[in-house]
Symmetry: C2
């Protein structure tokens, strides 16, 4: 049980039950669709929470950096995909990982393939990262000439073997509705399957790996896909709730913030909780104002809904300003405490360096374990 | 000298010479205007950089949290103002600080004053935080009735003594020009001096404390002010440069980022460097696009100007997308490295947990020293 009196500074509360239920939901969905489930661990970045995935039968993971791969490899995860175009400046880390786990890397450039091939001590799988519409990273999926050229470099290498095509449809985060998420997902499925059709004769084992949280949460069509890699669903957040990718009661983390003052306006409150706790991520409300987090009431049992319009309207380094308090809320006064559902839980978890569960367990994550310098 | 080969992951470079020159500039300005200089240490959060302030004669500081106050008190700083409305839930930390340093707190609410008075082991100075136009925290400076009521609670307390009025004009950050910064500053000076005139007879020792980096950088009128508390000037950043609060060559930190891929467009590059390194702070360019950081070239001597239009146009957790490369820049290719001048150096320094100086020194800051849980 949570003793709120002991919560004296911004603290990231974690509802283990909701979190485990989110993990179970996605693991079951993957099983139902005969998809390999390789969850992205960049959201929670925690060995302890990783164990909750093991309880659902997960034995391979995705990470977004080599430091994160080293952390989870050290925690006994034997099969890791680093879902970021390989950074050859960190070759020593890549070599270490290649020796110790089943490692998959992403490539988008010929010079990266050549640099890796010269140094890898063992066979390492590579995915060609393709761009299916997000326009952030990867070779555009329709540029067969560029893909051919890169694939040739991979097949000529001695230490790298081609595993397939990998994409991240981050543009689902800009969708306005479930149907738009599905439309984007459907378009990406088409692009990925065209690649599979084109290359399957030459590479009969090639796989397709896809997986953003919005589409994995709401889509039911995964034809041709071999693997999904969602990450954010472990906690969800206000952004996912606003996309209708989850219901509000699935959000599994909440930043507890002390109330330290009133404001010029009677409907506002000052809290200790700012950009160094939540990040500056926001969503825009219908009234044009920014929303840096949704406000909830805290109790020893967790958090419950509060006045629906209540939100963080301003955020600086350590200060947050709560707006929209239409009538006084009991306990919302200096010395009290309230909860903020984060806009983007990945960034909040990284800033907060760990969690306090509703049963009082402290769980550190990678950001709280990293000393400076990293290596 | 910087060995760029050893820079393999996002690394916050610090130009000690520029940083010391920024400190000297502000210390001299304070001396010239007969102002007490109480720099805000929330930007650098580092004992080692604190020593550079000592070299300029600084012996009292401002911080934004009690954890930061404990860190600097432990490093031998004897006189600390916590520039955040006092969080009475952290009473144990406040008591510890009150016993060990000359402590000043901020109050905005009567219940805070009463809670502090019951617990303080020694006399503690308090400032009434007033709102001079930023509308974030504090009692609006024109509400004399509210100020009177709070002041009465302070004077009736046994352990707190009234030190004066403190304001932060954060709205200078939204100014469009030097003249607008000066106009906002001038308005705040008027408000603060009206308070001084009103209360000076009853409190002949009352002080006025002011100080945002934009105004402290460009204003020359500080009439009536006793103390300034700028912080960001120690590093400056793109936001300050765009406000014309500093020239670009005063920016003393730069995030070195490995280049890991090309993009769909020939004028774009993918770098390893994202929201967990820089924060999601951005400025909006004239073309309506977002700027998450300005791109510079790195050499063993530090950073130099690059193509002026080059900027970070997209940022996710670990990925950054550089846009605006009108022609190929030598060395800007996968495996290479480039520099990003941060939009908001306070948030970047907090995320990066420390610095690498151009002479190869590693300097940790508070965020890199905090283990989880904090206490």
């Amino acid at each position: 049980m949570l003793n709120l009196k002991n919560v004296v500074e911004p603290t990231l509360l974690l509802d283990e039950e909701k979190c485990r239920s989110n993990i179970r939901f996605m693991a079951e969905k993957a099983r139902r669709h005969h998809l390999r489930f390789r969850p992205h661990f960049k959201t929670h970045q925690s060995l302890a929470i990783g164990d909750w995935f093991r309880d659902e039968g997960v034995d391979r993971i995705t990470v977004s950096s080599l430091n994160m791969a080293l952390y989870f490899a050290g925690g006994g995860w034997p099969d890791i995909t680093v879902a970021f175009p390989a950074n050859v400046r960190e070759m020593a880390k890549i070599e270490h990982l290649a020796r110790n786990v089943k490692l998959n890397l992403l490539v988008t450039a010929g010079e990266t393939v050549k640099a890796l091939d010269m140094k890898m001590p063992k066979k390492v799988g590579v995915y060609i990262k393709v761009d299916t519409g997000y326009h952030r990273a990867g070779i555009p999926s329709e540029r067969i000439g560029e893909i051919d050229a890169l694939l040739k470099t991979v097949t000529r290498s001695r230490r790298l073997f081609f595993r397939g095509f990998l994409a991240h449809n981050g543009h689902t985060y800009a969708a306005g509705s479930r149907s738009e998420i599905k439309r984007i997902h459907h378009d990406a499925l088409g692009r990925m399957n065209r690649l599979k059709d084109h290359y399957l004769r030459s590479f009969p084992d090639l796989e397709l790996s896809l997986g953003d949280t919005p589409a994995c949460s709401v889509a039911e069509d995964f034809r041709g896909i071999d693997e999904i890699r969602p990450g954010n669903f472990v906690f969800y957040d206000v952004m996912q709730y606003r996309l209708d990718a989850c219901s509000r009661d699935r959000i599994a983390v909440c930043l507890a913030c002390p109330i330290t003052g009133r404001s010029r306006h009677p409907d506002e409150l000052l809290i200790y909780g700012g950009a160094v706790h939540l990040s500056k991520e926001y969503v825009t409300e219908n009234d044009g104002g920014r929303n840096y987090g949704m406000i909830v009431k805290l109790s020893h049992a967790g958090w419950t809904a509060s006045s629906p319009g209540l939100r963080l309207i301003h955020l600086s380094q350590e200060h947050g300003l709560v707006g929209g308090m239409l009538r006084p809320v009991p306990g919302f006064k200096p010395g009290g405490i309230l909860g903020v559902l984060p806009i983007h839980s990945c960034l909040t978890a990284n800033l907060m360096k760990g969690y306090l569960t509703l049963t009082g367990k402290r769980i550190a994550n990678l950001a709280g374990n990293l000393t400076f310098p990293v290596i």
